[in-house]
């Protein structure tokens, strides 16, 4: 198929479309008067709910910490330190999350295609950093309930079990924080952990980013 033929074919298509396409001006007017919203809503309701729940959770824990400080005993220190660590980690994740969502909304579609797509994909991929941050709070959920009864009456078996769980959660959280990065997207363990459709879209995004970067270098 010669070059000229391709263009001729396309021009004929253009001519045909010119005759057969009609613009529904009434609908455009409705759009201009803000009666129509974007079909691709960047900030889904579920994301807003996640932020609200995160804030409520942090406020609830803060209130408990204040109460624990007011009625402080040596044993409540475990609860205070654990709860404060969870609050700090949750608030960090919320801040990162809100910043990413607002960045997504600021990206202009009228910039060149490669730049815009790269920014969009990078922001989409940064979702995983929130999960990595949140995972760091896992070990603290295994220490906040340490109490007087456990120290005074706890058996060796209980403590071996308890410390094993805390150690495993800590090791897992640190490992996850260090390894759950999109660079490892093609590794088998990554595919097993992140096999759901939500994560598949991130995998696709990572491949698309590599494609864009290769495209620029070619």
């Amino acid at each position: 198929m010669e070059d000229i033929l391709l263009k001729q074919m396309w021009a004929a298509y253009d001519k045909k479309l010119e005759k057969s396409l009609a613009l529904n001006q009434r609908l455009i007017t409705e759009m201009q008067t803000q009666k129509v919203r974007s079909a691709l809503r960047p900030l889904k309701a579920i994301k807003i709910v996640a932020v609200i729940l995160g804030i409520i959770w942090s406020l609830f824990l803060s209130a408990l910490v204040v109460l624990a400080i007011m009625y402080m005993t040596p044993y409540s220190l475990f609860f205070i330190v654990s709860a404060m660590a969870v609050i700090v980690i949750t608030v960090t994740a919320i801040v990162v999350y809100i910043r990413q969502v607002s960045l997504i909304q600021q990206i202009d579609n009228d910039s060149n295609v490669l730049d815009t797509q790269k920014k969009l994909v990078r922001l989409q991929l940064s979702t995983i950093s929130i999960v990595r941050i949140l995972m760091l709070s896992a070990p603290f959920y295994t220490t906040f309930y340490f109490n007087k009864g456990m120290f005074e009456n706890g058996t060796i078996g209980l403590w071996v079990f308890q410390l094993t769980i805390t150690f495993l959660f800590s090791a897992l959280a640190i490992w996850f924080y260090q390894n759950a990065k999109m660079e490892n997207v093609d590794k088998r363990w990554f595919k097993i952990i992140f096999g759901s459709s939500e994560w598949t879209s991130l995998t696709k995004a990572q491949h698309f980013l590599r494609e864009i970067e290769a495209y620029e270098k070619e």
Partner: protein, 165 residues
């Protein structure tokens, strides 16, 4: 009440470029309902960006950038069918599809089989855009564009020759 001047200009820009919008939507979406959503989304994003339009670029460059960005993002979304569009009618109505041109259908099929970015280059090339304008729209160098166009044309040529043998 008469629409403001800006609204009229926007309408006339869309009227002039409706073919481009349709062709881009058609290249990134074969499913009719999805295409309708995509066309709505492209026009919506064009309207949102209209007051930021920079007149150092042609309307077509501005329009291609937005339409391609929206189409590629839309194409990459997994749950397109779940997006409940609010308009019940089509913004761009097609009274007669160009179905009688067998070669054209093949060309459209082959373009649709290209990766997203190659597809954008091919569309712009077939629209007779200069290498400079294609480079401006996509954010690549003119040399890079020339190399890629040759490669894509080679691919299409092979596909057509496979069909005809």
């Amino acid at each position: 009440m008469a629409p403001p001047k800006e609204d009229k200009v926007f309408l006339s820009v869309i009227e002039q470029h409706k073919g481009i919008i349709y062709k881009i939507a058609n290249s990134y979406c074969h499913h009719t309902e999805d295409r309708k959503d995509l066309i709505q989304e492209i026009i919506f994003q064009l309207w949102r960006s209209f007051d930021r339009y920079n007149d150092q670029y042609k309307y077509s460059t501005w329009l291609y950038r937005i339409a391609l960005n929206v189409a590629i993002s839309f194409y990459r979304k997994d749950s397109k069918h779940n997006n409940a569009h609010e308009l019940t009618a089509d913004i761009i109505v097609v009274t007669e599809e160009a179905t009688d041109m067998e070669q054209l259908q093949l060309l459209q099929r082959f373009i649709h089989e290209l990766p997203e970015l190659d597809r954008a280059i091919m569309l712009l090339y077939l629209e007779e855009k200069s290498y400079k304008e294609i480079a401006d729209i996509l954010g690549l160098t003119e040399t890079n564009i020339a190399t890629k166009i040759n490669r894509i044309k080679g691919k299409l040529k092979t596909k057509f020759s496979t069909i005809h043998t």
